[in-house]
Symmetry: C2
Subunit: 202 residues, 2 copies
DNA sequence: GAAGATTGCGAGTGGTTGCTATCTATGTTA
DNA sequence: TAACATAGATAGCAACCACTCGCAATCTTC
């Protein structure tokens, strides 16, 4: 039964895409350890043989998932950064954007990979360039959105951006065990105020 | 062959302690998923039957490990907080203490449990009270160490403490994939400056 | 010291794991 | 269209998983 005529490249890309998406969703649902090739393949509606045709090991698939997630998250940032209206409160919007992205579904998969990378050397090595690119690209984007503050702060600006992301990533990790929305909101305000103070000319 | 005369309670406590310590070390070494009962028991030099005599499931053991780690981390904070010399730079010392503790071996095990809690409901429920107590006790300790700032800031002080911890926890998670010591040090300085600014009277 | 309770042991349970080998189906090239 | 390359499916592998069970060792109580 022939459904449709496709080139080899199309077939290949199609199943790889299905596998990456299924792996990402499985990662979000059950975490790295329980994201078995069986589960991923079942979700992708593809056989295990197909998976191992395109990825030599499960870990290699996970590295590819990491690259894919990194690209998607960056794209997400790019789109929403552009949508932020320039003005006095663009910093507030930017802070909210970072927090929302850290809490996004997609980012949960990234946490799973990061954590697994701690104890899995291959994964760590594979994820490192992705992490670096992600880090740098976000700094570039932020400079584009807040050029005045960037110019004023110089290299400190990048550190500040990294710190804001670190705050919200840390917050999310805490939330895995214990949620405290009021404190989170208070933190967002304090943090915004502190950044505004640092970013303003002395 | 009788080695030593011990009460039942001593025997019991002894093997439980061995299991908790072995489980903690195994968590640090291979992560939550690979910390199997086999591995833990081998490390504790105790049979699997002994483990399941004291803990109904592996997850129950992990909750107990979480409680134990929480107590140890708090004790660590308590000791080192007391050692900080009061003076102009006590804030610097406190910040360094928080960062060091976040990077400590013991805290790696806590990250493993926190992350696993995201997808394991029982673990999350068991860890929640531990997390809450840990959170509150640290805030209390910090108020004791920095009474002036605490008085000046009111409830904001607790949020600030939580934020500092969040920064370093987030930093550690980033470091699992990508290390950047220079940025980390720059962040520590900026953060200390910002906190000092916030904590000083306006 | 006998009886009873608690604790520790280790073989065995069914189930899942990542991965391979073999085969068929589909697309490409001559 | 014949020969070949690529892609996908299926069954099966040894290793490991959390957990159970009957028994032996140890401690407590009388």
């Amino acid at each position: 039964m022939m459904i449709q005529r496709r080139t080899q490249a199309e077939r290949r890309e199609g199943t790889i895409r299905k596998l990456l998406d299924a792996a990402t969703e499985t990662l979000i649902d059950v975490g790295y350890a329980e994201a078995s090739v069986q589960r991923i393949c079942a979700r992708a509606e593809v056989s295990q043989g197909a998976l191992f045709r395109h990825f030599p090991t499960r870990e290699a698939l996970m590295v590819a998932v990491g690259e894919d997630i990194g690209a998607q998250l960056l794209e997400r940032y790019r789109e929403r950064f552009e949508d932020i209206p320039r003005g006095d409160d663009d910093l507030v919007h930017a802070m909210r954007l970072v927090r929302d992205t850290c809490r996004s579904r997609l980012n949960q998969a990234w946490y799973e990979l990061s954590m697994a990378a701690r104890t899995h050397e291959h994964l760590r090595n594979g994820l490192r360039p992705v992490g670096r690119r992600y880090h740098d690209d976000i700094a570039t984007l932020a400079r584009k959105l807040l050029p005045d503050a960037a110019a004023r702060l110089g290299p400190t600006f990048d550190v500040l951006v990294g710190t804001i992301i670190a705050v919200f990533d840390g917050e999310v990790v805490h939330r895995f065990v214990l949620e405290s929305p009021e404190e989170d909101d208070a933190r967002l305000e304090i943090l915004t105020g502190a950044v505004r103070m640092l970013a303003r000319p002395t």
